[in-house]
Symmetry: C2
Subunit: 442 residues, 2 copies
């Protein structure tokens, strides 16, 4: 827990330094708010809350007898647990739009829930740390979020991370240039998204299932080649040749060039930047730049993701507000730091001092000693029972407490305490104030 | 959010100073773990999660046709959202018992969910801050938690709080002494618990409904008198006279006397302590001392609660482990501090500096300025668009940003920046490093 706290505090520090404002939203959203935002598979994975009380009372008998789970759900569940932080954020922005100052920059560190089968890097409940900038089309917003990836992950000392960059408009042009009908673009991205899991043959199968011409595979092979380009600019140059003259895609490419150049200018090492023409991102709401952060040798996919959405608030009735956001996957970052043993040594959040309780001792004097330690800024406790000293020392040892104060009859008579150093093993008699000074100096 | 963060950090500081260890548990528990722990009304208020997938497939047709919501729930819902932090903690302790050091002291700051009708001081999702000490029968554990009430609420500067104290064993003896059959004790506490809401006549009605002899009302009147006792010891003396010679109750009374005396000795002012013979606490698992913290003039009940449970882990198969715990209701404390305008002035977590973006200006120089501010420890951002300066100044003003840096053509030519003080209104030209120093000194 101390490590997670440190991770959140570190990211919070980076976000606030860039002027992001902290918000939280409730765990529950209306089920209808969430449905249809994450694709069909996503809808299946949303955790729905059963209505309270006699939830069947008003359900239609025919519906009930149909035994159709999907159809019944809407009748017996109004609320659901949030699936990500982006859709609740969009709802929040629309509801609060008269109170907010735009462009609005917020960060949010909260749990999300997904009904995935648990596995390596997959949890049913996990924490996302999101930054979004909404109400501007400026590509400096993308730049700021790439900086935040870099500064956040560097501050956490995540080893060997690379920020993958691409743009949905470029993907669209590439798919069209390879003969994929515009109507099949979404299917094409789903297939491309699976490439790293299923390989080129797998993608070929996906194309077949989804009625995408097999001739379009040649482009995927070309793009696989570009992935290996020695640096971002080389990748961009090769992509430019494949794109043709499609205006939106040319503009996207120029923006990506600027983003890479300015990120480098702002101190992001080129080796952390990877232009990946096969980065697709599953979620439908992205319309421009897309990001993912990967770690070499990690036993799972990305640790962060994000992108530009031209119209996320449109689904809640406020059209044409562009934004861009990123999300840090705290639990996967935690897994990476565990995997490489990469946590810093954190100050001891255990106990500094234990005061032993003596059989037929002076409990009030012992309470006073513990209190004096706390008033001096140390964490301390009085052992709650007058148990055998051996047992009390074992407890101190098990909890990793270094200092134990003992107030026996002799000590009380001479107005001192015994201070036992559980690490060094020796024990001194000295006045309480000196004992506290000694502990503070240790 | 900054205020909530400060509240949690403050309580965390107090808990850690007393040697409590931070844990978290998942939001979901098995529904069967939670059912039957919070009384019948509590069971109704637990939020149940609908099973994922085709949850009706295996449901018995007869059960479905019965339209019995309660009976169907177990068939279509395996998981539920935690209702408090105590039961999940008990489950955690039983599961981890071989890894933990006892007595085990933990704190936990997490949300809980209850299907209450929302209202003043009642939320469907709220945050509890719990401290528990488990594995000791020592009354010093009660003392430490009373100290934590006092230190935590004093650190938050909650005005006019009083810690109400009582003991379930005393309640039991008082009910028996007034002629309530032992089998009606639970009903009696439910009725007494409603006293502050429904008055003495309301309690009389409750007694009638629950078959409790009307003669038992005399005791309630006596106890109402004791509530007004001038100090805790006076209340305890009067209670002693009503108790008779019942051994468990006499012991409880002696322990309460010790608790009050030691709390005063440890620095809790007597005016913060209130022995209340009518404090009952709804939850069934309390068996000894019980606590509640109330605030004068608050528009709702208690802001904190707690008590001793002789056998909370028994329901999970590990019998005879005694513990005591308290819970701070963060949302109600927040309401109180809002109500009395009692929040401290917190350091600005907004934005220290905004760098304006000039039309046909030097974006990279502007980026560098914002970055230099951050490197000097200030929070800063570059306005994302080269909008009219008037608009940018309005944005800075709306966000409460005091300092704006402008890098016009003249400034760039002379290697300075313009620093505008949005509070004072004046503007200086000076080198960037001096501008940063000036902001830091402000």
């Amino acid at each position: 827990m101390a490590r997670r706290q440190w991770m959140f505090d570190t990211l919070r520090g980076v976000f606030e330094k860039h002027g992001f404002v902290h918000i939280q939203t409730p765990s529950f959203e209306n089920l209808s708010t969430l449905t249809g935002k994450y694709g069909e598979e996503g809808d299946q994975l949303i955790f729905k809350i059963l209505n309270n009380g006699d939830y069947l009372a008003k359900v239609d008998d025919v519906l009930l007898a149909s035994k159709n789970s999907k159809a019944l759900t809407a009748a017996i569940s109004k609320k659901a647990l949030r699936y990500d932080l982006t859709v609740p954020f969009a709802r929040f922005v629309v509801m609060q739009r008269n109170e907010l100052t735009f462009p609005f920059k917020r960060y949010q560190i909260q749990n999300v829930w997904r009904g995935d089968r648990p596995g390596k890097g997959r949890y049913q409940e996990f924490t996302q740390c999101d930054c979004d900038i909404i109400g501007t089309e400026s590509t400096l917003a993308e730049l700021e979020l790439v900086q935040i990836f870099h500064e956040g992950l560097s501050a956490l000392d995540v080893p060997g991370f690379r920020i993958a960059l691409n743009d949905r408009r470029i993907l669209q042009a590439l798919s069209e240039a390879s003969g994929v009908p515009a109507s099949s673009f979404a299917d094409w991205t789903v297939a491309v998204d699976k490439l790293d899991k299923v390989g080129l043959e797998g993608v070929a199968k996906e194309f077949e299932i989804r009625d995408i011409p097999a001739s379009a595979l040649g482009m995927i092979e070309n793009l696989l080649g570009i992935r290996q380009a020695p640096d971002p600019q080389a990748a961009l140059d090769k992509m430019a040749k494949l794109l043709g003259e499609q205006a939106a895609a040319r503009e996207a490419l120029t923006e990506l060039e600027h983003l890479v150049r300015r990120a480098k200018f702002s101190g992001v090492p080129e080796s952390h930047l990877h232009v990946d023409p096969l980065l697709a991102r599953g979620l439908d709401y992205y319309t421009g730049a897309i990001f993912e952060v990967l770690v070499e040798d990690a036993p799972f996919g990305s640790i962060c993701g994000g992108g530009r959405y031209a119209d996320l608030t449109g689904i809640f009735g406020w059209k044409g507000v562009s934004g861009v956001g990123v999300s840090f996957g705290a639990d996967r970052i935690e897994d990476v730091l565990n995997h490489v043993d990469g946590w810093p040594v954190l100050p001891n959040v255990g106990l500094d001092v234990m005061v032993a309780q003596m059989e037929s001792g002076d409990v009030e004097a012992e309470l006073t000693s513990a209190q004096a330690c706390r008033e001096a800024g140390l964490s301390s406790e009085l052992y709650p029972d007058p148990a055998k000293l051996k047992k009390q020392f074992k407890y101190a040892n098990d909890r990793g407490v270094r200092w134990v104060i003992v107030l026996g009859e002799d000590e009380r008579a001479s107005n001192v305490v015994s201070l036992k150093d559980m690490v060094g093993g020796h024990q001194d008699q000295l006045p309480l104030t000196e004992a506290i000074a000694k502990i503070q100096a240790s």
